[in-house]
Amino acid sequence: MSWSSAAEFFAMGGYAPYVWGSFAVTALCVIVESLVVRARGRNAVRGLGQAARGAR
């Protein structure tokens, strides 16, 4: 363990913007993509109903 306090951990030896900028944007992309893809799945299921109504 390289850290003696939480503040030291978040400071990342002075590289905080670079390290946290990398990890935060990656986490954001993963979360947003997961939500977008789930919404697309739900929309596709709703589309089944529309397809059935359109066919009649």
């Binding site: 363990m1 390289s2 850290w3 951990f9 990342m12 030896g13 002075g14 590289y15 913007p17 670079y18 390290v19 900028g21 990398s22 990890f23 944007v25 990656t26 992309c29 993963v30 993509e33 997961s34 893809v37 789930r38 697309r40 799945g41 929309n43 596709a44 299921v45 589309g47 089944l48 109903g49 529309q50 397809a51 059935a52 066919a55």
Partner: protein, 248 residues
């Protein structure tokens, strides 16, 4: 032929749809566990680098996302080629499902690379061979997505996308060997199949855990997306409508 699984039956969207649905939670759970382990090793077990200080910890996200951006392209082109050769419906859907995730990883590779380049090289960007060929990979993904979006008939969109994807495969070895062919700013590979890694064992472990986490994540998210694509394309098919009636 009793007792032998007919693997070809899974190549039909109708049988693959429920199977993919069952697999998603497992891959997502394994991805979360591996990411937790990888982040723990990366931030709390791996030591500080004596040259780069703490900035090197970007490696735990930069290298795995870069690997995934290249690996997913090869898998995408493989599915696209299979669809072109065998004219199977599911192959094209798989290629389309992988492209947005691959594009995301290519973007993240460039983004984390820029944030690592600034403290170590003094610049966010340089027209180095490795960086430029990774940017080309990002544009290949965007080109594939744009081309498919521009063609209304999904089967024709699959074929056009497949040709683009297969031509673009030539870029993958260029990215991989760029650090050897042109000796510019980007460092050479720290990990290779032919020799032992030139880094501390704990750093290597953290990187591999994160790479496996992103791999499992890619499978989970692509399966969710391919299920959506299957329903979007086959919404008028009898099996899809039976599915809706069963759920109602």
């Amino acid at each position: 032929m009793k007792g032998i699984v007919n693997w070809f039956s899974f190549s039909s969207p109708q049988t693959f749809y429920p199977l993919a649905g069952k697999m998603v939670p497992w891959f997502a759970a394994v991805a979360a566990l591996l990411a937790a382990a990888g982040l723990y090793v990366g931030f709390f077990v791996a030591p500080t680098d004596h040259q780069q200080g703490e900035s090197y910890r970007i490696i735990f996200v930069h290298v795995p996302v870069s690997w995934m951006s290249m690996f997913l392209y090869v898998v995408m082109a493989g599915w696209a080629g299979l669809g072109l050769a065998l004219n199977t419906r599911l192959s094209g859907m798989m290629a389309s499902a992988l492209a947005p995730t691959g594009a995301m990883f290519a973007f993240l590779s460039l983004w984390t690379g820029a944030l690592w380049g600034k403290p170590t090289w003094g610049t966010y960007w340089v027209w180095d061979a490795r960086l430029t060929s990774e940017l080309v990979l990002f544009f290949l993904y965007l080109g594939f997505l744009a081309l498919q979006a521009a063609i209304d008939d999904p089967r024709r969109a699959d074929k056009a996308g497949a040709v683009l994807a297969l031509v673009g495969v030539v870029n993958i070895p260029i990215i991989y060997f760029s650090v050897q062919w042109w000796s510019t700013l980007h460092q050479g590979a720290s990990v290779s199949i032919t020799r032992s890694p030139t880094m501390a064992a704990t750093m290597f472990t953290g990187m591999i855990l994160m790479a496996l986490a992103f791999w499992m994540y890619s499978i989970a998210v692509s399966l969710v997306r391919v299920r959506a694509i299957i329903l979007e394309r086959e919404r008028h098919a009898g099996w899809a409508q039976e599915l809706r009636e069963a759920a109602a």
